[in-house]
Symmetry: C2
Subunit: 206 residues, 2 copies
């Protein structure tokens, strides 16, 4: 579709802005813009104003770097949470995923990514220093690494493990194995191999 086909520059700019978002192509962008045009002005303005306000006012928890409406997030502010148990995750989406399991009662530390030289992300771009600070007083009972099982995730895991060894804090990673519901024959060898090595006493799985 030639850009000169847009009947309006305002329309064209709006479509262009939508195509900057990940996974939104030209056709989808046009559909979204035409949808917003069909709505009452108030509806369209509520859309833009809500997003603007969010970007303007959202904060990050000063302790765990989770997204928050205040300087301390709900999880860190929750007195029932175990503050000596820290789960290290890549992003706020991982916090939401773990929270939805309702299996975890500790707090989090959001790294803000993983070390990835290809994308120009080094240790200094992540919240590693404040994480290290939390380990120095010796009160933390366990650090759980819950990073992606990608090369970058594993590298970051290993980097943090080496760096924090001197603090003598127990460090664990979440279990990797066959997903529940998966069939053995369709599982890749690496996962299958790992799940054999890390086999558990049967009683533990009951």
């Amino acid at each position: 579709m030639n850009s000169s086909n847009y009947p309006s520059r305002l329309l064209e700019s709006a479509v262009k802005e939508f195509t900057r978002l990940p996974g939104i192509g030209k056709k989808t962008a046009l559909r979204l813009v035409l949808y917003l045009l069909k709505q009452d002005k108030e509806v369209a303005f509520r859309f833009t104003d809500t997003i603007r306000l969010m970007r303007e006012e959202i904060m990050y928890c000063q302790s765990c770097y989770n997204i928050s409406d205040s300087s301390t997030c709900n999880i860190c502010a929750d007195t029932r949470r175990d503050k000596q148990l820290i789960c290290v995750v890549e992003s706020i989406r991982d916090v939401m995923a773990i929270e939805s399991t309702q299996q975890y009662q500790g707090i989090y530390h959001v790294l803000g990514g993983v070390i990835s030289p290809m994308d120009g992300i080094g240790p200094d771009d992540l919240t590693i220093v404040p994480l290290e600070e939390k380990l120095k007083d010796g009160l933390v009972t366990e650090v759980i690494f819950a990073l992606s099982t990608t090369m970058e995730g594993d590298t970051t895991n290993f980097f943090l493990y080496k760096r924090f060894t001197k603090y003598n804090v127990p460090m664990t990673t979440i279990a990797r194995g066959i997903s529940i519901g998966d069939e053995l024959e369709y599982t890749d060898e690496v996962t299958l191999g790992r799940s054999l090595i890390n086999r558990l006493p049967f009683e533990n799985t009951l």
Copy 2:
């Protein structure tokens, strides 16, 4: 994903606004919002402000109801266009599709939809009266219907045909047939049947 899992109300409202758009689910909405959060404020604000401005200032051509930056669209304002040849389409997207073929030199009339009792859209919700006005002076040489080949499109087509017969203007519809590149054996019977009935002298297709 439980809504209580959102670490921030601002985030939750922004996600909710994105999910109102067609084809955007909760997971996609969250990905888009987190993307906008990662961008500089200026980038996020340019997104919201461009869309707000578009919704605020966009106009519709007073003659053909196409989207426009002024009260007369570029096509209607173009002196090289044949103003006596009117192509009736459902939406501005169809105008863009036909324009991109570069085969049409007349003007358009955007109906704003098709008659669809199921969706509560009757003739009065469309721009039928102003279209009729254009036919009254007897200057229009041809009206081309380019509506969808759906039941609603065909109904609308027939409705307009009956209503405009008295003006004695030639009315045509765009050809329906086998898409170029399609194989006969995979074409549905209705299309194949129609394309047989509406066969053309071979010379016309050269």
